[in-house]
């Protein structure tokens, strides 16, 4: 395996891959000479290269792409087209535009690749429990949902436009998690309306409404939210027989007769063989590695992730 991009996410995946059984991390590719020079002294035994082409010949089973979002399309398509690796994991979001995502999904299909995109929250025990409850119709037929994705990452910063733009904006940086979970929970969704509050160049918060064949809902996304020390995603779901609330930490189920049940992470078997940052990283990488080894479909794959990019694009065009 190899990793392209030695940033925060590249390091996390490098760590997890290094402890997963039957996985060998052999190379890192990084554009910055400063980080490359440092990496050569830290990651002893790994090849550190500056160009994708130098990964040819490694016979890689899979490559992780953890570079900034604007480069995903170029890097991922080059890996597939030059046959550097057949299988790809790309950090969220898959690409910068829906068109790029679609082209990557088509390319992956042509190469019969196992693909995956880093929508980490699918590996949270709370969201898995919520999905299980929804599938069992624990609240009856879903009528409506409200989703939020909040952080305080850019709260109070006056000069934030350059960084916030390069992270792809609040929807790509944070909102994509809620959108991905919504499509996972409720199936395909279409944007009905959208509005945003912006600083000079990038939106700080975005609200939008969606509809689907099964249900409809609304989203509220902000990275300037007070009291959200860590990014947090949550859903309130109203059903014909009760309601459900889920976020990163807990799941609450309320039936119409007033009975309620609650689960914290502690109740949901959250442990993993190796804990790095969050337990979800281990579960996510294990799922991808197993899918590659067994040549089975990983989820969320490029096709699933493409739907998130479509919604983001529709929201952005709806705002404008």
């Amino acid at each position: 395996m190899a990793i392209i991009g030695v940033g925060k996410m590249g390091l996390v995946h490098a760590g997890i891959l290094n402890v997963l059984p039957n996985v060998e991390l052999v190379a890192l590719c990084e554009k910055s000479s400063l980080i490359r020079s440092f990496s050569k002294k830290v990651f002893k035994g790994l090849e550190i290269v500056d160009d994708l082409k130098k990964l040819e010949g490694f016979k890689l089973d899979a490559v992780y792409v953890t570079t900034p979002i604007p480069s995903h399309f170029f890097v991922a398509s080059a890996i597939l087209e030059n046959r550097i690796s057949k299988n790809l994991f790309v950090e969220k979001t898959l690409a910068q535009t829906y068109e790029e995502s679609k082209r990557l999904a088509d390319l992956a299909q042509t190469h019969q690749s196992v693909t995956m995109v880093g929508y980490l929250r699918r590996f949270y025990v709370t969201f898995n429990k919520a999905r299980e409850l929804l599938q069992k119709a624990a609240i009856g037929r879903v009528e409506f949902f409200k989703a939020y994705a909040y952080s305080s990452d850019f709260l109070g910063l006056e000069k934030k436009t350059e960084m916030s733009s390069s992270r792809g904006g609040v929807l790509r940086d944070l909102g994509c998690h809620a959108i991905d979970l919504a499509t996972w929970f409720f199936g395909d969704l279409e944007v009905n309306s959208a509005e945003s509050k912006s600083n000079e160049q990038a939106a700080d918060s975005v609200s939008f409404k969606v509809g689907g064949s099964q249900t409809g809902g609304e989203f509220d996304v902000s990275w300037c939210k007070k009291d959200y020390r860590m990014p947090e995603v949550g859903f309130s779901v109203t059903g014909s027989k009760g309601s459900l609330f889920v976020n990163d930490d807990q799941v609450k189920l309320e039936s119409q007769d007033g009975k309620s049940l609650m689960w914290y992470r502690h109740d949901l078997n959250d442990n993993v063989p190796f804990w790095l940052g969050l337990p979800e990283y281990y579960r996510e990488d294990l799922h991808f590695v197993k899918s590659v080894a067994d040549a089975t479909k990983a989820e969320p794959d490029f096709c699933s992730a493409m739907k998130v990019d479509k919604i983001i694009e529709d929201v952005v065009s709806g705002e404008s």
Binding site: L11, V12, L34, V42, M163, R265, H266, F274, W275
Partner: protein, 298 residues
């Protein structure tokens, strides 16, 4: 008989809850004020606590200053955790990833005016020498603690934050652990490691012939196995290899999930536990928790 180490943790002062973020939003905001935090630590000390474990941040440095002003640092063991990962991850988000972060932190070290740190840092950065950079950074963080708490303050231990410990473990960086232990030993401070992979760390340290009695390990130990990777049983088993107590149990209440009596009963039955660290956000907690701990962990 050596007295157990009973540390006041800083999570509530940094507005952290391992149960849920919602809980922190409901928490009384006064807990975040340094003077109020110093009051709670002082009260905990009156009821059995003998130290303070904290991530090195502007918030906790202000608390140390408040404790110093009221003369409450005398005899208090200080256990610092570096780096304050949250602050650095957030900064990386704002300034453009690891390259931007490195420039910003380098600037802070230079701005601190610590000549020794600056000299080591210049050499380290010019050669991209990870050990020189690590030493520079540690010198900088220790100087921040000394500057806030005073030169007489009793810095017993400096621990690597769990993100660093666990990443270095995953990447099998034996050289980093050994260099860090050697460097801290030269400074007369016990090297420590905060980890969520206690059993794995113990196994690796034994493979690498690192003396477990020379370090402090802070790791989650609680009745429900919360954050105890890979599982509670393996972490309990790993405790048995210690020749002397050098483990600080953290998350003993599993973030508030466990009732105090249940949590303390479990901890007091474990072997080779040097002490515990737990946060308090109310006067009643500060008093009752440490009274119970002092009694149970004699």
């Amino acid at each position: 008989m050596t007295r157990r180490t009973l540390l006041v943790g800083d999570n509530p002062f940094n507005n952290i809850s391992h149960l849920s973020q919602e809980r922190t939003r409901l928490r009384e905001k006064a807990t975040l004020l340094p003077e109020r935090a110093a009051d709670l630590i002082h009260l905990a000390v009156e009821n059995g606590a003998n130290g303070f474990m904290f991530s090195v941040s502007e918030t906790t440095l202000s608390i140390l200053k408040a404790l110093k002003r009221r003369g409450a640092l005398e005899g208090l063991s200080l256990y610092g955790i570096v780096p304050y990962a949250y602050e650095y991850v957030k900064l990386a988000t704002q300034v453009g990833g690891i390259s931007g972060l490195a420039k910003r932190v380098g600037g802070r070290i230079i701005g601190s005016g610590n000549l020794r740190g600056m000299a080591m840092g210049v050499v380290g950065f010019l050669n991209m020498n990870p050990l020189a950079i690590m030493k520079t950074y540690m010198t900088y963080e220790i100087s921040r603690i000394r500057s806030a708490a005073g030169k007489e303050a009793k810095i017993d231990c400096i621990l690597f934050h769990e993100v660093i410990t666990d990443l270095a473990l995953a990447l099998k960086m034996e050289w980093l652990f050994k260099s860090y232990i050697g460097y801290m030993g030269n400074l007369g401070i016990t090297p420590g490691f905060n980890t969520c992979n206690f059993a794995y760390l113990v196994s690796k340290f034994r493979d690498w012939e690192i003396d477990l009695s020379e370090v402090v390990i802070a790791a989650p130990f609680n009745k429900v196995g919360f954050q105890m990777a890979p599982c509670k049983e393996e972490c309990e088993q790993a405790l048995k290899v210690f020749s002397k107590p050098s483990v600080i149990a953290i998350s003993i209440f599993a973030g508030g999930y466990l009732a105090p009596s249940d949590a303390i009963e479990y901890i007091s039955a474990l072997p080779k536990i040097k002490g515990v660290a737990t946060g308090v956000s109310k006067e009643r907690h500060a008093k009752e928790t440490f009274e119970m701990l002092k009694k149970a962990l004699k």
